[in-house]
């Protein structure tokens, strides 16, 4: 076969890539600042980062609003879906930056390269969510992860942070080897790594002699993605890494990294799963049930709120997987439900972790749940916001978490996976225990000073305005979209 050169419209590629260029330029400036300027406790880099994110956000938002159809450059696809998810990613990156400012300042470890790495990771996610080709999926995942490995170990004097980075790195590299093996076998059996081509040829390949190679390849891809989204049985790294990493980085991993990986998984699913659906339906449903059950049961026994939220994030990945078998029969409905859920999940998780950042502003990062005792009296507003986020994670109306679960389960019921939804609802009931426990501790438990309860060091300081901003934005989002879910539904429907 002769190599074919497609004509690329460079000017429109530049237009589409402009937000990425802005982010890249800001990252370059951050690294140069780190190398050239002796910067201690200056706000220059974080503010520059926030401005760059805001500019990229405005440019992409304009693109999302414009009625022009999406563009495909083969390897990169700029459609409403990728622009919308990119907006979500920029939002959670901004939240991480806002949380990082007081967090790093409290530790006297203000380094400009931190923000540069954060931006580079965001850039990797941009490639990942716009990927129209399995090679681009791989490059996006690697660019994203390489920066996050370093961020997880950023507090290099802290042994827990080092350990989190090493575990994340080894597991991440292990997972990408599986992902690559999957890409190799899909490439071998389909003769292409382009997702659009795969969608066209899937049925034909499944009927032909390449069937076994193709099945093996997709199975390996599933393993690779399973690690990235922390689905059981590939979840073991998540609690350790979420626990050991600096909390603002944990926010970034739990929201942006997860959303980007899930959307890439969604794209892959839409093009690949329709052929030979039964196999993938079984695998995905079993995975969803195992992920929900293990995440929820393990979260119950946690004494540390950071680890509890890590297991809860595994459980939430399980809920999202409930919608994945529906991709085969109803890709549009499943895609919308997943997007809705990811949006809601970003809001409530970022908010809950923001409270953890406040708790952990002391040197030894005290994040035990017992530390919350009496918070309802000492910090009524903070306690009320944490209550709102926990109730939303649990899925109590009228919070956005309830409607996110509702649409997710509705999609699964419509496609006939009633047993899966029954299990998911039972799991939601189990999760009530560990989401309600911090609330009970905050309001009804009297702190006993003997064991250091109720003495979160960070609580004695006035709240940093950056943290107040994050708490206000996320709490407003959770409440607003909880009362008017149709507004969010309209946005999501316009995106997929």
């Amino acid at each position: 076969m002769m190599p074919q050169f497609t004509q690329i419209d460079w000017s429109s590629l530049f237009n589409m890539g402009l937000p990425w260029i802005v982010i890249f330029a800001a990252a370059a400036i951050a690294f140069l600042t780190a190398a050239l300027v002796e910067e201690e406790n200056s706000l220059f880099t974080p503010v520059m980062t926030l401005v760059a994110i805001a500019v990229a956000f405005a440019l992409s938002w304009g693109r999302w609003l414009s009625p022009l159809p999406g563009l495909s450059f083969g390897m990169l696809v700029f459609d409403k879906l990728s622009v919308f998810v990119w907006l979500m990613i920029l939002f959670s990156a901004a939240i991480s930056v806002l949380l990082s400012i007081p967090y790093l300042a409290a530790r006297g470890f203000v380094k400009p390269e931190y923000y540069g790495l954060l931006l580079l990771s965001t850039l990797g996610m941009a490639c990942l969510v716009s990927a129209g080709d399995l090679l681009m999926v791989y490059l996006g995942i690697e660019t994203m992860s390489l920066a996050v490995y370093v961020l997880a170990g950023f507090l290099r004097y802290r042994a827990a942070s080092n350990e989190a980075a090493l575990k994340y790195f080894l597991i991440g590299a292990f997972a990408s080897a599986f992902l690559l093996m999957g890409i190799a076998f899909v490439f071998g059996s389909a003769g292409s790594t382009n997702l659009a081509v795969l969608a066209e040829r899937s049925t034909e390949i499944m009927a032909g002699e390449g069937r076994s190679f193709y099945l093996f390849g997709v199975a390996m891809l599933l393993i690779g993605f399973g690690f990235k989204i922390a689905a059981v049985p590939f979840h073991a790294w998540a609690p350790d890494v979420y626990d050991g990493a600096p909390t603002p980085v944990t926010v970034f991993m739990a929201t942006a990294v997860k959303a980007a990986a899930f959307v890439a998984f969604l794209r892959l699913g839409v093009s690949v799963f329709s052929a030979g659906g039964e196999v993938w339906i079984t695998v995905l449903s079993v995975g969803a049930v195992a992920t929900m059950l293990l995440g929820n049961l393990a979260a119950i026994v946690q004494e540390n709120i950071k680890r509890m939220l890590a297991y809860s994030s595994i459980a939430h990945a399980g809920y999202i997987l409930v919608a994945f078998p529906s991709i085969v029969s109803d890709p549009q409905g499943a895609g919308r439900a997943v997007l809705f859920y990811l949006f809601a999940y970003i809001l409530m998780t970022a908010g809950a972790f923001a409270v953890v950042v406040v708790m952990g502003l002391g040197k030894d990062e005290p994040t035990g749940i017992s530390r919350l005792a009496g918070l309802g009296k000492r910090r009524p507003v903070l306690a009320a916001t944490l209550t709102l986020f926990l109730l939303s994670l649990l899925g109590i109306p009228p919070t956005v978490g309830f409607f996110a679960k509702y649409y997710l389960f509705l999609t699964a019921v419509k496609s006939g996976y009633i047993w899966l939804v029954v299990i998911a609802v039972i799991n939601s009931a189990i999760s009530a225990y560990y989401y309600l426990r911090p609330i009970v501790v905050m309001y009804f438990k009297i702190p006993s000073p003997l064991v250091g309860e109720g003495q979160g060091e960070g609580e004695t300081h006035a709240l940093s305005p950056f943290i107040v901003a994050v708490l206000a934005i996320t709490a407003l989002g959770v409440a607003y979209f909880g009362i008017f879910p149709s507004n969010l539904l309209a946005i999501v429907t316009g995106s997929f």
């Binding site: 370093v150 989190a164 790195f169 080897a177 190799a184 790594t193 946690q302 680890r307």
Partner: protein, 101 residues
């Protein structure tokens, strides 16, 4: 004997499995990392075999990307290992038990 694509694939999967077993059984972070590199190179063999079989140049191009990413990964990974060695004077992963539960 004629060497076909299947021979290469068997070789690739064998190397991949050896690498995976190494990751699971070895306790030294550096050896684990070497095993991961072995897995990546096993994948490269598979890509090249498929590229030859399908007569598609893309497979060879992907290998270049994989090599470049693996180099970047090595830089980051060794950096992380060094920072952990400075704090702990060990690179054995079974001695890293700060985080559990």
């Amino acid at each position: 004997m004629i060497i076909t694509v299947h021979h290469y694939l068997v070789l690739s999967i064998l190397l991949f499995t050896i690498g995976a077993i190494g990751v699971v059984t070895r306790r030294n972070a550096l050896i684990i990392f070497m095993s991961i590199e072995l897995m990546l190179n096993a994948v490269n063999i598979a890509f090249l075999a498929f590229a030859r079989w399908n007569l598609l140049i893309e497979g060879k191009m992907i290998v270049l990307f994989v090599l470049a990413v693996a180099a970047a990964e090595a830089a980051v990974g060794l950096g992380i290992v060094i920072s952990i060695y400075r704090n702990r004077q060990t690179v054995y992963v079974d001695e890293m038990r700060l985080l559990k539960g």
